[in-house]
């Protein structure tokens, strides 16, 4: 680890949007990705919410890791502490949404609390530690991953909206065709991998 040169935060930012997209190359956060991608507006709303939660929780988790977990040697507790922080953040974000963005809050409904257990979010915090990112790198990593997640779910929702009236073989309706579209999207995103890579 120490030997490897420090990767530019901006490379991390763009790589996490395109080449190392959380959904399309790491397959994290699939649950809400599949279930909330019927309608572009809602999907885009959820994408924004995930991005927001990611940035917020990464900052909080970074601080907790540097100033609490590392100094006290509590590395073995990082999972539980990260999850606690994520849960509290989601709760606070939910309160903010209920007050200021009521329509979005109602549209997201049950999915907002589900962000708490969206593995993409815990994934970011764990990757940032495994890959030994500094603060700037972590923040751009989380922002990029959030935007990448938003991009992926928005594109999928747009495709599904276009396909809403298509006649599909019965067995492929719903999640079936969604997985196939996701696979094709992942192939398309692999096309970016020659540009930059972070893994």
């Amino acid at each position: 680890m120490e030997a490897s040169p420090v990767i530019s935060p901006f490379v991390i930012f763009f790589a996490s949007i395109f080449t190392s997209n959380m959904i399309l190359s790491n397959f994290l956060g699939m649950c809400s990705y599949i279930s909330v991608s019927n309608e572009y507006k809602t999907a885009s709303g959820l994408g924004k919410a995930v991005t927001l939660v990611m940035i917020f929780t990464t900052a909080a988790n970074y601080a907790a890791y540097r100033f609490f977990i590392l100094p006290l040697g509590l590395d073995y507790l990082r999972f539980i502490i990260f999850i606690l922080i994520i849960a509290a953040s989601v709760q606070i974000i939910e309160l903010v949404m209920d007050r200021y963005f009521q329509e979005l809050h109602l549209k997201l409904g049950i999915f907002l609390p589900l962000i708490t257990v969206n593995c993409a979010i815990l994934g970011i915090s764990l990757f940032m530690i495994i890959r030994n990112y500094n603060f700037l790198q972590s923040m751009l990593f989380s922002a990029g991953s959030g935007l990448g997640w938003w991009l992926a779910i928005s594109v999928l929702a747009a495709i599904r909206e276009k396909m809403a009236k298509t006649r599909l073989p019965k067995g492929l309706e719903g999640p079936g065709i969604t997985f196939i579209i996701t696979g094709i999207m992942a192939l398309a995103f692999i096309g970016f991998s020659g540009i930059f890579s972070i893994q």
């Binding site: 907790a64 609490f68 006290l72 509590l74 507790l77 539980i80 502490i81 606690l84 922080i85 849960a87 509290a88 709760q91 606070i92 309160l95 903010v96 209920d98 007050r99 009521q102 329509e103 109602l106 549209k107």
Partner: protein, 365 residues
């Protein structure tokens, strides 16, 4: 040592986060005082924000009719919101027509008061109140009709027009888990103090009527709200033609007693339709009134009197009997209360004899 450190670290972390959530809740879930402007400033209420419009109004003693108690399942609590209601929620959509959406109708049990809000409700809702009454008497009137005398709490009075109805809130019983709210006309005269009477026919399988008939006992508490309805004595038309069947006798009895008590100079004819003699009730009572007051006439009619019954009154469908007695519509007003089938048939007969829509008032149930 290690164990202690772990426990303390986790506890400190969790408490800090809990504290943060509590602070956020206090700051964000607190909407302060909001005002509800009703009917363009005719009343302005100050309420604590954050609750639903329905409960905010009922705390201020304004009762919007609601049967499900705020769960968005009955769709009765519609209110017109002019400003400040926010967007229509997915829970409301099934209950609102495109027309209602355009007019700003909303379910008041779903709209939360989060800022100053302007609404419009019918004026008569202002006089609606909720009462916790006590059942003082239950009288079996016929095989399937009972009369209930309900005593209002001390010093409370209900002000209503003869003919209006109240809504009874049933309690859960047996397999019925939800309270339901049903409308019953008031049978007693408005001047009766501290109590009122309602007449309830047992509807086979009816949730509220079964509760009233089989579970409610003398001395029980019964919650009701009212008065509601636009079926009441009007000033137009000097002569009253009143037609009722079954428990539809209730509002007519109230109107008749009201006219007599207030010494109004109105001619009254009351047609009561039933099948056999065992469906008749209050016969002696009305015959007595007929003898005492010259301007009241009582015409009970049986459609199929049993052979063993010694019936000396009118025989035939109520429509035929009405047609024989009411030849013209001159200066008359018709008041009908009963089943939709009976009312529609009677309205047809009345219209044939010259009655127009503005001379006919009815309460279908």
């Amino acid at each position: 040592m290690e164990v202690l450190k772990t426990i303390i670290s986790i506890s400190v972390m969790a408490s800090l986060l809990a504290l943060l959530v509590v602070i956020a809740d206090k700051l964000l879930n607190n909407y302060g005082e909001c005002s509800i402007d009703i009917n363009k400033g005719s009343r302005i209420l100050k309420v604590q924000g954050g609750t639903t419009l329905l409960s905010a109004l009922s705390l201020q003693k304004i009762f919007i009719p609601s049967a499900c108690g705020g769960k968005a399942t009955c769709g009765l609590c519609k209110v017109r919101i002019i400003d400040g209601g926010g967007v229509i929620l997915p829970t409301e959509e099934p209950y609102l027509t495109a027309e209602e959406v355009k007019n700003g109708m909303r379910l008041s049990c779903q709209v939360k008061v989060k800022r100053d809000i302007k609404i419009s409700i019918p004026e008569e809702l202002f006089s609606i109140r909720q009462f916790k009454t006590k059942v003082a008497r239950i009288t079996q009137m016929t095989h399937d009709i009972k009369e209930f005398e309900l005593v209002l709490p001390d010093s409370e009075t209900i002000t209503f027009k003869a003919g209006q109805y109240i809504q009874v809130l049933s309690k859960p019983y047996d397999k019925i888990k939800e309270p339901v709210s049903r409308a019953y006309s008031i049978a007693s005269v408005p001047s009766m103090e501290g109590k009122l009477e309602i007449i309830v026919r047992q509807v086979p399988g009816g949730i509220c009527t079964s509760y009233m008939h089989q579970y409610l006992k003398v001395g029980d508490e019964l919650t009701l709200s009212g008065p509601y309805g636009d079926f009441y004595l009007r000033e137009t038309g000097k002569e009253l033609v009143m037609i009722a069947g079954g428990s539809g006798l209730a509002p007519i009895k109230s109107i008749v007693l009201d006219v007599i008590e207030r010494n109004l100079d109105r001619q009254m004819t009351f047609f009561f339709g039933a099948v056999t003699m065992k469906d008749l009730y209050y016969v002696d009572y009305f015959r007595d009134l007929e003898r005492k007051y010259g301007n009241f006439r009582y015409v009970p009619a049986l459609s199929k009197p049993a052979p063993e019954e010694a019936w000396d009154g009118e025989i035939g469908l109520i429509t035929n009997v009405v047609e024989q007695h009411v030849k013209d519509a001159n200066d008359k007003g018709a008041y009908l209360c009963g089943s939709p089938g009976m009312i529609n048939a009677c309205i047809n007969v009345l219209k044939k004899n010259g009655f127009t829509d503005d001379m006919i008032y009815f309460d279908k149930f």
